[in-house]
């Protein structure tokens, strides 16, 4: 059983290595094939466009932090959906009601954020 278990993750490891090797291989091949002529103008943010002023690292508004916090909250919700989905067949209707209560409570939070105009981009 334990051997079978780790063999399943061998496929994951192969996919991981493939995912790493493909972009590295493609970029390395491109490096040898393409012509190389770096000039200072090519390194600007918008080549043959507007002249950029100042650095790109500016301080953003604190408001945008709420987006990250909302994402974390709904990410944690996803974690709880995972065992629920796996065990759903053996749990029945009661689990569905429980999960509906759970999701509804979080949707209330989303509606609150919406009403407070947190989601508006101004």
């Amino acid at each position: 059983m334990a051997d079978l278990y780790s063999n399943n993750y061998l496929i994951v490891a192969i996919f991981f290595i493939l995912g790493l090797a493909l972009p590295i291989g493609a970029l390395t091949a491109g490096r040898f094939l393409r012509p190389n002529n770096p000039i200072a103008e090519k390194r600007t943010t918008y080549e043959s466009g507007m002249e950029p002023i100042g650095g790109s690292w500016v301080q953003f508004n604190v408001k945008y932090y709420i987006y990250a916090l909302l994402f974390v909250v709904f990410d944690v919700e996803t974690i709880f959906l995972y065992p629920w989905a796996v065990a759903y067949d053996q749990l029945g209707l009661f689990a569905l009601v429980e999960m509906l209560i759970f999701v509804t409570l979080l949707v209330i939070g989303l509606i609150y954020a919406w009403k407070k105009k947190v989601l508006e981009w101004d």
């Binding site: 604190v62 990250a68 974390v72 944690v76």
Partner: protein
Amino acid sequence: MSGQFVAFFILSLLTIGGAVFMISLQKVVHQVVALAFSFLSIAGLYVMLEAEFVAVTQVLVYAGSISILMLFGIMLTRHDAHEDTGRGKFKFLAFIVVAAFFVLVFMGIQTMNIEGTPANFSQQNNVLEIGKLMFSQYVIPFEIMSVLLLVALVGAIILAKREADDK
């Protein structure tokens, strides 16, 4: 040498490497990337311990949202000032302290013995068992969890809203 040993060696090397890079890199964004790398390797270690649920939690919450949260935190603060004070002054002292700590921990691990028999969890689907328990025996804590998340969400909105209005 089994495949499990090789996998453990690679994963722990990546974990420690990510942590070391996180400390030694100069730019904050690079540090977060190194930390995310460390988180992902720890998820791999959890998979090796046959704790899939913990591994998925590690990937989703830590490698996913905590890294995003840190990146947002970096974007929201001024970080172009990187100071370089007091480094190298106490290098020797720090080395001695770290070495002593390592020896203590190593001795502790060597002499530690854990009582009881290990749980027999390899024979079953762990996530399924967690799901069954969570939605039958531990329903009330689960629902209270959602209230906790709601309170955290509302509190964060109120705090961030007030900060934004002050500006």
